[in-house]
């Protein structure tokens, strides 16, 4: 076997693992005496094994998230989803970041509003007016000692 034929076989049937019988024996015999053809076969075998063992990869999760958001959008646009519930679900999924942000803002606003309400309750105008009346009453019935009595002395004054 000459190198031209050996090289042709190495790149096709031998690399595919389908070379059998006399042709295989002849090629192997040639490779024993021809280092260059032998290196070609070894290099191809090693590269093939390397590709089969390490080249496979999985798509990151983010790819599916993007695909899902895109097909949800397309589903609604093209009327794939029949029910209102499905449309709402797909809509919410595709708007997930917006929904999360809105919910966060809503919680923040609720906390701020609650805090303000509590503060308002503690210093409401109604309470202030009541306190002012009490102060006025006390001033009007002020004792000579300069101390204000808002208890029985006020009742005495009005009665």
């Amino acid at each position: 076997m000459d190198c031209q034929r050996a090289k042709g076989l190495i790149l096709s049937e031998y690399a595919d693992g389908i070379l059998r019988g006399h042709a295989l024996e002849e090629l192997e015999s040639h490779m024993r005496s021809c280092p260059s053809c032998r290196r070609l076969a070894e290099g191809l075998t090693a590269a093939g094994e390397l590709l089969r063992s390490a080249a496979r990869a999985d798509a990151p999760q983010a790819v599916w998230d993007r695909i899902r958001a895109e097909i949800s959008r397309l589903s609604i646009k093209k009327g794939f989803s029949k029910t209102l519930l499905e449309r709402l679900r797909y809509g919410l999924y595709s708007l997930r970041p917006v929904v999360v942000a809105t919910a966060a803002v809503a919680v923040l606003l609720f906390v701020l509003a609650t805090a303000r309400l509590v503060s308002y309750m503690n210093h409401s105008p109604a309470l202030s007016a009541r306190e002012n009346i009490i102060d006025l009453v006390s001033l009007s019935s002020g004792s000579e000692s300069g101390e204000y009595d808002i208890g029985t002395s006020a009742e005495t004054f009005f009665l």
Partner: protein, 201 residues
Amino acid sequence: MREIDKKTIELAAGGDIGAFEEIYKAFSSTVYTVALGVTRDRRDAEEATQDVFVKVFLGLKRFKFGSSLGTWIYRITTNTAINIYRSGRRHRAFGTADYDEIKDNIPDRRDIFKEDIEKSHARRSIDRILSKLSPEHRLCIVLREIEELDYKEMAQILGIPLNTVRSRLKRARAAMAVCVQKEGLDHGLPKSQRADTVGIC
């Protein structure tokens, strides 16, 4: 690659996301691997994967079960990956960095594990081999050596005659052998087996 039953395909064609997710789970690794092999760029491979599955989703209603779903998805993948590679070539020519790749090449604590080092070397070797091939030759190598498809399936996917598949794969292997012999492999082929000559007898 897992085959998908007809009912799941029909449900997905009707817009059922759960059924479509089954299809995605069965084929995503294949699609991403082929796209990565052709484009050699993670962002491009992710973009190709996304495009492929959106096309599959939109095209499922017209799928007639004339060929297997796998063959159909492979065909969409090869066309999409080649197109993305060609459209991105000018963009890459200006030296845009692949930050994921840079990040992966920075040694970190994980590299203390032998398996990770070997895997990292293997991936670099694969990338170096594939970088020397044209996209068409890369596609042949990926379909035959990684996906382990037979010539008939490759002919169906690539839309070319069987003999053209044979000759194209032979040229792709010859180009791959030249690269391996010139530069050797970090993993697999011992340095002592590198040849100074390029497979010329």
